[in-house]
């Protein structure tokens, strides 16, 4: 990975402004800290709704037997578990995450469930994916893109490794569009969320970062435009739970 430490370029880390090269390390710290409790926190924070969001991603993936799937920022492997059943023995799923703690938790979880044979684990940075061109029928990145420093580079890299005809699905927090939802959501994110983080994972700061990084992430239309700029075609998105989360989809032709 290119080292930006010497550069004066800055980027956002939640509401803080940090040097571009430092963001990767800071995000890594957050996820090293939350890895062991990540699944439980997801359930508590989203009141279990993240399972529905992920299910919809699976439904829209169009993945079928024998296909190759890349689950980027796959963390603890929620999507990989489901994909591995759909691609069968003749297909392959690669669970990839930049963070080795998350990847270890994911690998242990899948092995415990007896999911072996068609799943590989790769620690990789989404900005420079270590795969040949045109390798995958489907790429998913669920709740990962907002932690990537250079999103344009990541989208370009995904476009490169996607097969023609393949599709990219981005599940990510977005901008609430349902009337009256924003103030409630803000109150929840900045008051209740860090408190729960403190209570369950003993780490309020990491969860404050999560809330802030969500606010700094591009909204639905901006992300759709970024996908188009990276070369994806027929880009669209669906707002889930009033726009708290959006599922973007784009194809490579």
């Amino acid at each position: 990975m290119e080292n930006h430490n010497q550069s004066d370029e800055t980027t956002h880390f939640g509401y803080e402004t940090v040097k571009t090269g430092d963001k990767v390390e800071k995000v890594a710290e957050v996820f090293h800290s939350v890895a062991s409790k990540y699944d439980m926190m997801n359930d508590v924070m989203s009141m279990g709704v993240h399972r529905i969001w992920k299910r919809l991603t699976i439904e829209k993936s169009g993945v079928r037997r024998g296909q190759h799937v890349l689950d980027l920022a796959g963390g603890t492997g929620d999507l990989t578990i489901k994909f591995s059943k759909m691609v069968g023995d003749s297909g392959q799923v690669i669970l990839s995450d930049i963070n080795d703690s998350m990847l270890k938790v994911g690998r242990a979880r899948l092995l415990d469930k007896g999911i072996v044979g068609n799943v590989e684990y790769v620690q990789a940075n989404a900005e420079c994916l270590p795969f040949p061109d045109n390798s995958f029928d489907c790429i998913t990145i669920a709740f990962g893109l907002r932690n990537v420093t250079d999103k344009e580079a990541a989208l370009a890299s995904m476009f490169r490794v996607l097969k023609p005809g393949g599709r990219l699905l981005i599940l990510e927090f977005s901008k609430p569009v349902a009337p009256g939802l924003s103030p409630l959501y803000d109150f929840y994110s900045f008051n209740i969320l860090p408190f729960m983080g403190k209570l369950i994972a003993n780490d309020a700061e990491s969860y404050r970062y999560l809330a802030e990084s969500i606010r700094m992430h591009p909204d639905q239309e901006t992300l759709k435009e970024m996908m188009g700029n990276a070369g994806f075609e027929r880009c669209d998105y669906s707002n889930l739970t009033g726009g708290i989360v959006a599922l973007h989809r784009g194809f490579k032709f």
């Binding site: 399972r51 439904e59 169009g62 489901k82 999911i115």
Partner: protein
Amino acid sequence: MNQTKQPEDINPLLIPLLAAMETGLNRLFAMDPETFERLQRFKGRIIAFHITDMQQTLYFFPDQQGIQIVSHYEGEADTVISGSIMAFARMAMADEQTKTKAVFKGDISISGDIALGQHFQSLFKQLDIDWEEHLSHITGDVIAHSLGNIARGFLGWGKDTFNSLTTDVSEYVQYETRDIASGPEINHFNTQIDQIRSDVDRAEARLNRLSESLSKRKVKITVKKKSAE
């Protein structure tokens, strides 16, 4: 049959329902430890249930972990079991004979790998859940056993009551009020109908034979006349 729907057709309201259905089924399977072993045999196979009155197909992906259900799959399923909601509900509760009848009557149709579809159905029949054992984890052995006895007693009483009620009602309407015919009467009536049907078939065959020989004779006469001329 068009199994595959466009992703735009995915009903978001269906997703929580599928999640609940999947969790419920897998919890049920977990109650009988042998089910996961049986499920392992289906690993890699895809079983589709097409609900005709809802125009909805559900795809089941079984493996040793349980079953994963999705409502949209762009590939081909190994076996497709089609029917209405009512037909599926009846089949879930029915015995083997009624299930076979449902298939022959056309309420349920199986296409693709038929043996796979039948084996998958029998999975549910093989479920043998020891409710008392599971209850004992919560209440302890003694209470679970007592509750088990009460439940068994209640079920036994219910079954006996239901059986005697059914017998009483059927005897009343058959022999007292004579609103409906009794079993032997219906059998006798059916035998008579069968007899008449056979007689009519025989008479028809005889008539056909006669008319055939008559037409042959006509042809012969015509040929003779022509040759005489």
